[in-house]
């Protein structure tokens, strides 16, 4: 009798799905992290320190896009003898973040319920 083994999933499919899953979460994380003021590099470090590594080439354009959407405010300021652009969550961003977190929790609860039901079967 031959042993049947599970076929190994395609890593490219996982990477693509992981990217999709992370995309929305990253925005929530960035907005939440910017309740305190940061410039690009320190924001990236802060996120990475909390387990959410994000590429510079993704983060820096994202900050600009969120600012264009008026969810962030920014200002150039000198720190350590260098000019840096500091970002902070705007009042509008606060409201959107609250809505996103409510949505996040709702999705999380639903997925947990689905998982519990499927485990019981």
């Amino acid at each position: 009798m031959s042993a049947t083994s599970n076929p190994s999933p395609d890593p490219q499919i996982f990477d693509s799905l992981r990217l999709e899953l992370r995309r929305g979460c990253l925005i929530v994380a960035v907005l939440a992290q910017l309740r305190a003021e940061h410039y690009g590099y320190t924001l990236r470090k802060a996120l990475a320190d909390q387990g959410l590594a994000i590429e510079e080439s993704t983060l820096y354009p994202l900050l600009r896009r969120l600012e264009t959407q008026k969810l962030l405010t920014s200002q150039w300021r000198e720190e350590d003898k260098r000019n840096k652009r500091f970002y902070k969550l705007s009042p509008e961003g606060e409201l959107i973040l609250a809505q996103l977190l409510a949505e996040w929790n709702s999705i999380n609860d639903s997925v947990n319920t689905i998982l519990q039901h499927s485990d019981q079967r």
Partner: protein
């Protein structure tokens, strides 16, 4: 200028070439501050200034300049996701008609060709022109949809979705079940009668000419010798068809039926091409024949055969497309 700032400046300059002028300086200043902070951090970790390769490694990790710049720009596409399905649908639906029209246009000069080699060369030339003409058609269609996309995004319009109504969807298509055994037997019987009819023609010309046989006899016109050659060709074709129709009675040959049909059509095209290339279909059977009438009749029949040839070639391609489409589709070569 130290190596760090030199490499960084070159990197930023390369990115700047792909950024819009209005925001370029601001974007580059921010990027410089972030990258400089990263380089400073790394130097602090190593407790020494960074070497050129170390700076290059950090910049390489940050990404190729053109791609880094692209991320700062809004998403760009010639045909966006809202329009693309309509573009693909139009391409699929229009391509067969475009193929047909292009082929017919390319075949128009076949009507004025007189020799068999020229005829074959003309058909091959018409087929050869299909691909570049089809590419040209696709290019024009793509151009039209690029303009549609431009208008759509500029006006923030919803051009196609508003009129959609689920109740207007087409009815469910009946599933194709193939020919029944009874219809295959009937087909075989009909084919046998058809062979008997063809076999009787040499001794009874009226079977093919009808009352006009008397008219031709009065004009002193009769069949040209070419028909004797063609007659043998026709009998071979009928015999091949007879074999395939007998084989078709056995369900194990079901899968081969389309191939049989295609081969039969191919032989049919070859025989039509043979006839189309001939100049003389009727000859004088006596001195009373009017040569001008004879020439006009032969010319008319020649043109008719060429038109039939073009139609049979198109039919052959349609059948071949139907036969090979599923396997091409599975290989991603057809839609």
């Amino acid at each position: 200028m130290n190596p760090t700032s030199n490499l960084l400046a070159r990197y930023l300059q390369a990115i700047g070439e792909h950024l819009p002028a209005a925001t370029r300086d601001d974007m580059l200043a921010e990027l410089r501050a972030n990258l400089q902070a990263q380089l400073d951090d790394r130097a602090e970790e190593l407790n020494r200034p960074l070497t050129d390769p170390e700076v290059a490694a950090i910049l390489k990790e940050h990404g190729r300049p053109i791609l880094v710049a692209a991320r700062y720009l809004p998403q760009q596409y010639l045909i966006g996701p809202a329009i693309f399905p309509y573009y693909l649908m139009t391409l699929r639906k229009a391509a067969p008609f475009a193929l047909l029209i292009i082929f017919l246009a390319n075949c128009s000069n076949l009507l004025f060709i007189h020799t068999f080699p020229e005829l074959i060369a003309g058909i091959l030339r018409a087929l050869g022109l299909l691909i570049p003409d089809l590419i040209m058609f696709a290019a024009w269609l793509t151009g039209a949809f690029v303009i549609a996309e431009y208008v759509y995004t500029r006006n923030h319009a919803k051009p196609f979705n508003a009129s959609w109504d689920p109740t207007k969807l087409p009815a469910i298509k009946p599933q194709f079940k193939g020919k029944s055994r009874a219809s295959r037997i009937a087909d075989l019987i009909f084919h046998c009668f058809w062979i008997i009819y063809i076999l009787e023609i040499p001794s009874h010309h009226f079977l093919i000419l009808g009352p006009s046989e008397l008219y031709l006899r009065r004009l002193a016109i009769t069949f040209a010798p070419i028909w004797h050659t063609y007659y043998v060709f026709l009998l071979v074709l009928l015999a091949v068809q007879l074999v395939t129709k007998i084989l078709a009675l056995n369900p194990t040959f079901d899968r081969l039926q389309s191939t049989f049909d295609l081969v039969t059509k191919l032989v049919g095209v070859a025989s039509t091409a043979f006839l189309a290339a001939m100049k003389t279909y009727f000859v004088a059977s006596g001195p009373a024949a009017n040569q001008a009438t004879l020439a006009a009749v032969n010319h008319g029949i020649g043109i008719a055969f060429r038109i039939v040839l073009i139609l049979t070639v198109i039919d052959l391609f349609v059948e071949a497309w139907k036969l090979f489409r599923p396997s091409l589709r599975s290989k991603g070569l057809a839609f």
